[in-house]
Amino acid sequence: MVDAQSTLTLDDSQRWAGVYKLLDRSSLIHPEFEPVDQIKEFIKEAKILVIGAGGLGCEILKNLALSGFCNIHVIDMDTIDVSNLNRQFLFRRADVGKPKAVTAAAFINKRVQGVTVTPHYCKIQDKDEDFYQEFALVICGLDSIEARRWMNATLFGMFDPENPDTMKPLIDGGTEGFKGQARVILPGNTSCYECSMDMLSKPTGFPLCTIANTPRLPEHCIEWASVLEWPNKHGERKMDTDDPKDIQWLYETALARAKQYNIQGVTYSLTQGVVKNIIPAIASTNAIIAASCCNEALKLASTSAKYLNNYMMYSGNDSVYTYTFEHQRKDDCPVCGNAVSKMEFRGDKTLEEFMDFLKEKPDAQLKKPSFAIAGKPLYLQAPKSLEEALRPNLLKPLKDLVSSGDQITVTDSTLPFSLQVEITLV
């Protein structure tokens, strides 16, 4: 299709005047930079991958397109929800239900001439290393810890120190309310996402006995409704937190329990917030973090200024505050470290208790771990036959299964790497 618009050619040096000054002129604060024309060509041609087309993703796509990057790909498995419209500005009410990646790509392609955004409506896990190998740079704008761990580990797994082409810089952004962070991760050079798992706040959860016996907060009543009452009343049917009917049921059930205990504050909105683990999200914070990420992308790709080494925190609750620092590598990081992680655990505690400990440990946060020693399985989540055969081990004290100094290999189906734990029984 040929239309008036696509035949219109725009003068690059005028259109990108702001960026081109940066690329054409030398700098005294960054004397290493040599302004050569190939840089502009590289920016135009380099394949950039954006992970996520949500709040951060929409901003990132816009920023990359207006930085002169013309070959952009985006992956997102989600479809558009009404609650996205307060910040995901590439979507309109009529787009609700459509795939985010496809809609966002079409919008940018129409708005910014000469830019091609290619959408991938799928999970990141659906793509293989050959796919990721094609990109010069990956920018993550995700709200899922699991997906970021996967992406981080995958890019580190692809890195071959002998072959510089396998080094894929990863720029990661994240926000929560008025706060956020942007960081630059270079395999073989900087700390990685996994190194900083302990900086995440502990997943909030309430002790089962509180929920069951001594509720005090509205949240306790909501957890009771979703964790204990739902399976009681609905059997096998899984809760769909996107279905207003299910939320309504949870809300009413929690409200009834709250009344019984004289607890105030159960609302529909709180119910939804607790069961969906909703994180407040606004346009302005997304803009700040996405812009930081893309500023770093342009600096990295063009070498026109020093890139971030390697972490910037932002907080806007009280005044405007940024803190830029070098986050340190963890020697025993299971992704980028060499050392084995050492742990002490009581020998009279069971394997199941050890498993629960790893699920809650902030820098592990495992979902469904399996355990083995020297290739011999202690417990496996799958296949079913093996799971059943090994299940009795869960109830055995650790000292009957392992000895001090043993290396336990911990794997989890959600993570593309394994954890080596040198255990000391105490």
């Binding site: 005028q14 940066l22 604060i29 419209l85 307060n86 609750n317």
Partner: protein, 526 residues
């Protein structure tokens, strides 16, 4: 849930219906549809401000569409104000947009009061003279915002004579009164049996009751005084630990862990005492705002020690703690009951003040008084220095100390000031023009740097207090708009405007500078 609540769910969790209502009654003026200006408006239209107006006399150029997402190839040659209005307006059906393809100064010549209808006036891409004029013309109820982006550097200045904050969203509003429990609280504490044989019962005594018991015992053996030194507080912790029966008594752990925070003397914070002494609190008039009227009512309450014991109204909020449902709910209602009583007393004071001022009792809502009392320990008033004060009475001592820090981003403030002077002399900004060639390097850098030196000298500072490499860098940028920086500043500025409009959270005071080359920033009170 209605459609609007659904759409705004993720932000209502931050600023609630109150904040949203404030946004929806705001009208924002953008002077010049620059990249950064449109990014600010984007982040304001999305969360649903009431209205916006774009004033810009210019036409869309190639340079615009390369840096501004809300001007596209179709817009080339058309009115910048109109196109920005169209492309921003489509972001949210609930927002009403307006535009005028005119110069702001000519609008003001025809309509001198033009700015008074706006809650916020945002200016960008204007000369220093125009910015100062607009800042001067903003009334006491209009927030003035001047934002600049030059290459990788961004700067924003905010000014409004007085900004008051009730809901500053502190991390913890609990005010437990462990040192001086009110009657109901003291008798609650004695209702627990610390000698019970029942380990379940013992393990569920709320930590507040534990603290109250051990604090009371301490006071009895220390002449009525509470532990004040670090060593004394550790001793109190040890006393509590000695009362523990098993390491599983988490309630005792909770008590020990909150000794440092909760076992302090209850006082009126000095920042609030300062506000009490403020002339606006002292001398109320018929024009006094709600904030100062309620503040005065709170002051009168505090001074009436029969009612308040000399303390601020109780927040009435308690944290979660290990406890049986009943004892927790009872404790909660004791704090809430006292808080309610305090609100009633303050309300009486408010009403008598309103009567004295000849104003209707309903002019201040009970919700406003309640929220004021709840957050009374965290009230904040920011009086921004005016732009005129910044220019005519520079804080030279402060400036000297900022410049003494080699890591500071402050030099960019100085260089951008000098760039404004450059513009006045040359009719263009340093480094403007084609990106190749050497004119910028050979002519503009020395010219700009001598203006920097002159400015420093006028402040009584060393002429070379700003490194020449940074002046060079600003000339390198050549007043170019780089979208990432426009978008970053657009995010920061819109966030500050949201805080100012909603009167929630604490906005920066008064100048923010971002250096995108180093990814560092700072706030300066100029």
């Amino acid at each position: 849930m209605d459609a609007k609540t659904q759409k705004y769910d993720r932000q209502l969790r931050l600023w609630g219906n109150n904040g949203q209502a404030a946004l929806e009654s705001a009208h924002i003026l953008l002077v010049n549809a620059s990249a950064v200006g449109c990014e600010i408006l984007k982040n304001m239209v999305l969360p649903g401000i009431g209205q916006f107006t774009v004033v810009d006399a210019g036409q869309v150029t190639l340079d615009d569409i390369g840096s501004n997402f809300f001007l596209d190839a179709e817009s080339l040659g058309k009115s910048r104000a109109e196109r920005a209005y169209e492309l921003l307006g489509e972001l949210n059906d609930d927002v009403q947009g307006h535009w005028a393809s005119k110069d702001i100064l000519s609008i003001l010549a025809e309509e001198p009061n033009y700015l008074s209808k706006f809650s916020v006036v945002i200016v960008s891409n204007v000369s220093q003279a125009t910015a100062r004029k607009l800042a001067y013309l903003c009334s006491k109820d209009t927030t003035f915002v001047w934002v600049k982006t030059v290459g990788l550097v961004g700067q924003v200045r905010i000014a409004i004579p007085e900004h008051v904050i009730v809901e500053s969203h502190p991390d913890n509003v609990a005010d437990l009164r462990i040192d001086s429990p009110f009657l109901e609280l003291a008798s609650y504490a004695t209702s627990f049996n610390f000698d019970t044989e029942d380990t379940m019962e013992f393990g569920h005594i709320p930590y507040v009751a534990i603290l109250l018991k051990y604090m009371e015992e301490w006071k009895q053996t220390h002449g009525g005084k509470i532990p004040s030194t670090y060593a004394e507080k550790n001793q109190l912790k040890a006393n509590i630990r000695a009362g523990m029966r098993s390491p599983d008594d988490e309630n005792f752990d909770e008590a020990i862990n909150s000794v440092l925070r909760s076992c302090q003397a209850t006082v009126v914070p000095s920042s609030i005492k300062e506000l009490f002494k403020d002339e606006k609190c002292e001398n109320l008039t018929t024009d006094s705002s709600t904030f100062w009227i309620i503040l005065r009512a709170v002051r009168d309450f505090v001074e009436d020690s029969g009612k308040s014991s000399g303390f601020l109204p109780l927040s009435g909020t308690i944290p979660d703690m290990k406890a049986q449902t009943d004892s927790y709910v009872t404790l909660q209602s004791i704090y809430k009951g006292k808080a309610k009583q305090d609100v009633e007393d303050v309300t009486k004071n408010v009403n008598s003040i309103l009567e004295r001022l000849g104003r209707a009792a309903e002019s201040i809502t009970s919700q406003e008084i309640e929220s004021f009392c709840k957050f009374s320990a965290f009230l904040k008033v920011i009086c921004y220095r005016s732009l005129e004060d910044e220019y005519q009475h520079p804080k030279t001592k402060q400036i000297a100390s900022w410049l003494a820090d080699p890591e500071s981003v402050f030099p960019y403030y100085v260089i951008l000031r000098a760039s404004d002077a450059f513009f006045e002399q040359e009719g263009r900004y340093p480094g403007e023009g084609p990106s190749d060639g050497t004119v910028w390097e050979e002519e503009d850098v020395p010219k700009l740097h001598s203006l920097v030196a002159g400015l420093l000298q006028s402040w009584g500072l060393e002429r070379d207090a700003v490194p020449r490499d940074l002046t060079y860098e600003i000339c390198r940028y050549g007043n170019g708009a780089i979208h990432n920086i426009a978008s970053f500043m657009g995010g920061v500025v819109s966030q500050e405007i949201i805080k100012l409009i909603t009167h929630q959270y604490i906005p920066m005071d008064n100048t923010f500078v971002f250096d995108g080359a180093r990814s560092v920033s700072a706030v300066f009170s100029l």
